[in-house]
Symmetry: C2
């Protein structure tokens, strides 16, 4: 029903919905830099999230198999450690390749749009009457 | 209630929700390349969207003041033309600056994560017991 027509250069199907949420982008970037994991409290500070929000986003990432969460104790106090899984790392890298493509396309579009390339001619020839 | 703590380097507050949706990213990139506008049918093909999906996303962008939609006639047939507004163009450029930062941060995180920087030492010293 919602199949994507072929050759849609701006469909960006690779922008994985589990990742393409701004809080989760921050969480994954933080965890990528810390392959041995980050404490929940440190992740919260890095990403500017509340306890509730971070818990919710970690749950999405855990259910997607991208993050593992280890609850334990550190100096007799409860401590939660969060890590990227190997699959999560690979999936985030795949997503980033698409995100880089978006940035490249948009930069090219900005140049084309400013320069008034010959591709603009057909649009220019349109004569519309406001309905 | 949900205030952001200061100095949260991965909060990415600039990832404007009206823009940060994969279909709308495609729509805006397409329109950026065509400042004189695109026909609804061409935009649909470029972005791989159905009529219903494209209409819904254009409505969000129109309500945000980023896109203007002109309904008219072309050779006696109904024709809908879509254009970025000046404000929409600026807002998309601002968003793209943040998106580039995400890509840069993630690339740096990938390097740090692979290299095992000295910043990893504290995480390494954690000794967790599985709950």
């Amino acid at each position: 029903m919602t199949k994507t027509p072929p050759r849609a250069p701006f469909a960006y199907d690779g922008l994985d919905r589990a990742i393409h949420e701004k809080a989760r982008l921050g969480v994954l970037t933080s965890l990528m830099a810390h392959p041995r994991g980050l404490a929940f409290v440190d992740l919260k500070t890095l990403c500017g999230l509340t306890d509730g929000n971070l818990s919710r986003h970690l749950q999405v990432l855990q259910e997607a198999g991208m993050v593992e969460i280890v609850k334990g104790y550190e100096r007799n106090r409860p401590h939660t450690q969060c890590r990227l899984t190997a699959a999560g790392r690979q999936r985030f890298l795949d997503y980033l390749a698409v995100l880089e493509q978006v940035v490249r396309d948009a930069a090219a579009a900005t140049r084309e749009g400013s320069g008034g390339s010959s591709a603009e001619a057909p649009a220019d020839s349109l004569r519309l009457r406001t309905a």
